[in-house]
C-alpha cells in the first residue's frame, strides 16, 4: 500500500515529501522513476524544482482555496447576507454607543448650563420671556439662592436617576453633585480644568465643595461677560479632552529604528518599503538603509519589509530597537524585468511602460566594416552549393536540411578554421566542409578599407534530391 502510494505521481504529498528531503535514497529513486514515466508529472516536477517545498505547498493550498471559493455556490449566497447582518449590527452598536455617551455627558452639562443661564439672568435681571415670571416670584420669596435650587432639584429628579432629596437646603453646587452623580463630577472637574488650567486635579477630587464653588464663581464670571454661547462650547469640549489625553497617556507608541541591508553583500538598501502589517502606517528606508517608524507598542504588530527583487521579510515588533534586517534576493522576481524590444516608435502609438536605454555610440568615427563575401556574390554561391552537392555521400532525406558552419576568411582570402556549429550528421558535415574548401574564393572583409581576418557564419541548405526518371534508370 505504501509502495503503491509512493508510486503515485498524482499525489501532491509525494512531491512535498520529496522536495523536503523526507524520502530515503531508495524512495527518491522510485518516485523519480515514476515521475519520468509521465510527461505531466515531469513538467510539474521541473516546475516545482524552481521553488522550495514550503513555497510550493503555500501556493497550492492558496490555489485550492481559490478554486473552492470559485466553485462553491453556497458561499456566494451566504456571504452577502452575512455582510449585511454584520453591517447592521455594527451600525446598531455604534448608534447605541453614541446615544449612550451623549446621554450620559449631555444631561449634566445641559443642567449646568440652564442653571448658569438662569443664574446670570437673575443677576442681570434678564428679560427672557419664559423664565421671567418664575424668576420674579423666586426673587420675591428668596433672594437668589434658596428656593431656586429646590425647583431645580425637582426638575432633575424627573429626568435623572433616583435623587437623594435630603439636603434641599444645600447650595446649587451640592445639588448638582448629587443629581449628576459621577458624570456631573467629571463635568465640574473638567470645566474646572477649562477655566483654571493650573488647578491641580488632586485638589479638586479631595475637595469637591471648594472646587465646585470655584466653578460656580467662574461660571458666574463668565456669565457676566454674557458669553453663554462660548461657554456652551467650552463646556461641551471637556467631553472630549479626557478621552484624548487618555489615548496619549495609555496607548504607548514605540519608535523602532533600524537598518535594511542586502543579505548577499550587506550593502544598505535605500527605498525599502516598511509597513506595519495590516495598517497603512509605514515608511521607506533612506539612502543608508536606515529607517524610523512609530508603531503601537503591543506585541502583535508585524513589520513588513518589501523591496523589488528581494523577498519580502516580516519582523515581529518586540523590544527591538535598532534592528538590522537582511533581505534575500528573490531570483524569481528578477525574471520580471524583461527587455521586450528595441527600435523607435512614436510616443502616440506607444502603449505600456517602456524604459529606453541609450547605448553608447562609442568613438565618433566608428570603423566602416565590410564583411567578407564570396567573389561572385552570395546568390552565385548558393547556386554553386545547389549544383555541386554530391548526393552519393549523403544519406537519403526528404525535407530540406540546414547545416550551420563558421569559418575565418583571412586577409589574403584563404579560408581556415572551418567549424560546424549545428550538425545534422557526419555525412552532411563532411560535405559542407568539402563544398566550402573547393568552392568559389572569398574576398576578405575590410575595416576602413583595410582587409582584416574575419569570421563568417553560413547556413547551408541541402535540398532533397529530386530523382529524375533518368537517374532512376541509371541506377537500375
Amino acid at each position: 500500500m505504501d509502495k503503491q502510494k509512493r508510486h503515485n505521481s498524482n499525489n501532491f504529498e509525494n512531491y512535498l515529501n520529496y522536495f523536503r528531503n523526507l524520502f530515503s535514497g531508495r524512495e527518491k529513486h522510485i518516485f523519480e522513476k515514476t515521475v519520468l514515466q509521465d510527461k505531466f508529472a515531469q513538467d510539474a516536477f521541473d516546475g516545482f524544482s524552481r521553488l522550495n517545498a514550503d513555497e510550493v505547498s503555500h501556493d497550492v493550498s492558496e490555489l485550492r482555496k481559490k478554486i473552492e471559493e470559485r466553485t462553491s455556490s453556497r458561499k456566494l449566497i451566504t456571504l452577502p447576507f452575512l455582510r449585511y447582518t454584520a453591517a447592521a449590527i455594527l451600525l446598531l452598536g455604534i448608534g447605541t454607543t453614541i446615544y449612550l455617551v451623549r446621554q450620559s455627558t449631555n444631561k449634566p452639562v445641559q443642567l449646568a448650563e440652564q442653571i448658569v443661564e438662569e443664574d446670570t439672568s437673575l443677576r442681570r435681571e434678564a428679560i427672557l420671556q419664559a423664565e421671567q415670571d418664575t424668576l420674579r416670584k423666586n426673587i420675591a420669596y428668596h433672594p437668589v439662592s434658596e428656593k431656586k435650587p429646590e425647583q431645580k432639584d425637582e426638575k432633575i429628579s424627573e429626568i435623572e436617576l433616583p435623587v437623594q432629596e435630603t439636603d434641599l437646603s444645600e447650595s446649587i453646587a451640592s445639588s448638582e453633585i448629587e443629581a449628576g452623580s459621577t458624570t456631573s463630577d467629571e463635568v465640574s472637574i473638567d470645566s474646572d480644568i477649562r477655566f483654571e488650567v493650573e488647578a491641580e486635579t488632586e485638589d479638586i477630587i479631595n475637595d469637591f465643595a471648594l472646587n465646585t464653588d470655584e466653578v460656580r464663581k467662574d461660571r458666574s464670571k463668565a456669565g457676566t461677560h454674557d458669553d453663554s454661547s462660548a461657554k456652551r462650547k467650552t463646556q461641551s469640549q471637556p467631553e472630549k479632552t479626557p478621552v484624548v489625553s487618555k489615548i496619549d497617556g495609555s496607548y504607548d507608541k514605540t519608535v523602532i529604528t533600524g537598518r535594511v541591508i542586502a543579505s548577499s553583500d550587506e550593502t544598505p538598501l535605500p527605498g525599502v518599503n516598511i509597513l506595519v502589517k495590516g495598517t497603512s502606517t509605514g515608511t521607506v528606508s533612506d539612502i543608508d538603509g536606515n529607517f524610523q517608524l512609530q508603531v503601537p507598542a503591543d506585541d502583535s504588530s508585524v513589520l513588513q519589509f518589501a523591496y523589488v527583487g528581494y523577498t519580502t521579510e516580516e519582523l515581529e515588533v518586540r523590544d527591538y530597537n535598532d534592528v538590522t534586517v537582511a533581505l534575500n534576493e528573490d531570483l524569481l522576481a528578477l525574471d520580471e524585468v524583461v527587455v521586450v524590444g528595441y527600435g523607435t516608435t512614436k510616443n502616440a502609438e506607444l502603449t505600456g511602460a517602456v524604459s529606453t536605454i541609450q547605448i553608447d555610440e562609442g568613438p565618433a568615427s566608428a570603423p566602416v566594416i565590410v564583411p567578407p563575401k564570396p567573389v561572385n556574390g552570395l546568390s552565385a554561391y548558393k547556386k554553386y552549393v545547389r549544383e555541386k552537392t554530391d548526393y552519393k555521400t549523403l544519406p537519403y532525406f526528404e525535407k530540406p536540411v540546414f547545416v550551420k558552419v563558421s569559418f575565418s576568411v583571412m586577409q589574403d582570402g584563404t579560408i581556415t578554421d572551418i567549424e560546424i556549429i549545428k550538425s545534422v550528421g557526419e555525412a552532411f558535415d563532411k560535405e559542407v566542409i568539402r563544398l566550402i574548401k573547393e568552392g568559389p574564393a572569398w574576398t576578405p572583409g575590410t575595416e576602413n578599407g583595410i582587409p582584416v581576418n574575419r569570421e563568417v557564419t553560413l547556413k547551408i541548405k541541402f535540398q532533397p534530391k529530386i530523382l529524375s526518371s533518368q537517374e532512376n534508370l541509371d541506377e537500375n
Binding site: 512531491y15 519520468l36 516546475g47 524569481l332 525574471d335
Partner: protein, 208 residues
C-alpha cells in the same frame, strides 16, 4: 438533498486522495448532467498542483503561474463542453501546456522560449514509457546494449546509475560531481535517445 450528500462524499474522498474511488471520467459525466461547478472543482483539485508545476516550469514566475492556474480553470469550464474527453488527465496536460505556450507566444520577448518548446508534439497520452520502464528487471537485449553504447558518456553513466543501480538524482549528482539539474536532463535525454534508437533497431530487424 441526496445530491449534497454525494458531493460531500466526493469531497471526503478527494481529501484522502489515495482512495480516489470516483474516476475522472465519472466526474465529467456527472458534471455534464448536473452542471454543478463544484464537481468540476473537485476534478480540477485532483491535478491542480501538477497544473501549477507545469505553469511554473514554462512561465518561470510564481505570481503569473498562480493567475494562469485560475485562468485555466475558467478555460476548462469553457472547453469541457466541446470535447469528448477520454483521458482527462492527459487532456488537462495538453490544455495546460498549450495555454502556457500561448501565453509565452503573446509575450513577444518570450518567443524564443516558445520556439524551444513548440517543436515538441502534443500528444494524446502523457505516458512516456521507454524500454527501461517496461522491462525493469533488465533484459538487457542486444538492441538496448547497443543503444546504451551509443549515448554520450554522461548520459550513459547517469542511465546506468539510475536505472540499473537504482540510485536517486541526489546520489548520482554526488557521485558524478555534476549539478542535480544536469543529472535530470541527462537521464531524460538519454531515455529519449534510447527510445528512438531502440525503435529504429526494431524497425530494421522487422523489415529484414
Amino acid at each position: 438533498m441526496s445530491e449534497k450528500q454525494v458531493l460531500e462524499e466526493l469531497l471526503v474522498s478527494q481529501k484522502n486522495s489515495a482512495l480516489n474511488v470516483v474516476s475522472d471520467e465519472q466526474l465529467i459525466s456527472r458534471y455534464r448532467s448536473e452542471k454543478e461547478l463544484e464537481i468540476l472543482g473537485i476534478l480540477y483539485q485532483r491535478y491542480i498542483h501538477l497544473v501549477y508545476g507545469v505553469c511554473l516550469k514554462y512561465l518561470k514566475n510564481r505570481e503569473e503561474s498562480k493567475d494562469i492556474v485560475m485562468q485555466i480553470f475558467e478555460k476548462l469550464i469553457e472547453e469541457i463542453e466541446k470535447f469528448d474527453i477520454v483521458n482527462f488527465r492527459s487532456w488537462l496536460y495538453v490544455l495546460t501546456k498549450h495555454y502556457c505556450l500561448r501565453k509565452l507566444q503573446k509575450d513577444s520577448s518570450a518567443m524564443k522560449k516558445f520556439l524551444q518548446y513548440s517543436d515538441e508534439q502534443f500528444m494524446e497520452s502523457t505516458t512516456d514509457l521507454s524500454p527501461l520502464d517496461e522491462y525493469p528487471e533488465i533484459d538487457r537485449s542486444d538492441a538496448l546494449n547497443k543503444c546504451i553504447g551509443k549515448l554520450t558518456n554522461e548520459q550513459r553513466e547517469c542511465i546506468e546509475l539510475f536505472y540499473f543501480q537504482k540510485k536517486c538524482y541526489q546520489e548520482i549528482s554526488d557521485t558524478m560531481d555534476i549539478p542535480l539539474k544536469k543529472v535530470k536532463s541527462y537521464i531524460q535525454n538519454g531515455k529519449r535517445n534510447l527510445k528512438i534508437c531502440i525503435e529504429n533497431e526494431n524497425g530494421q530487424t522487422k523489415t529484414t
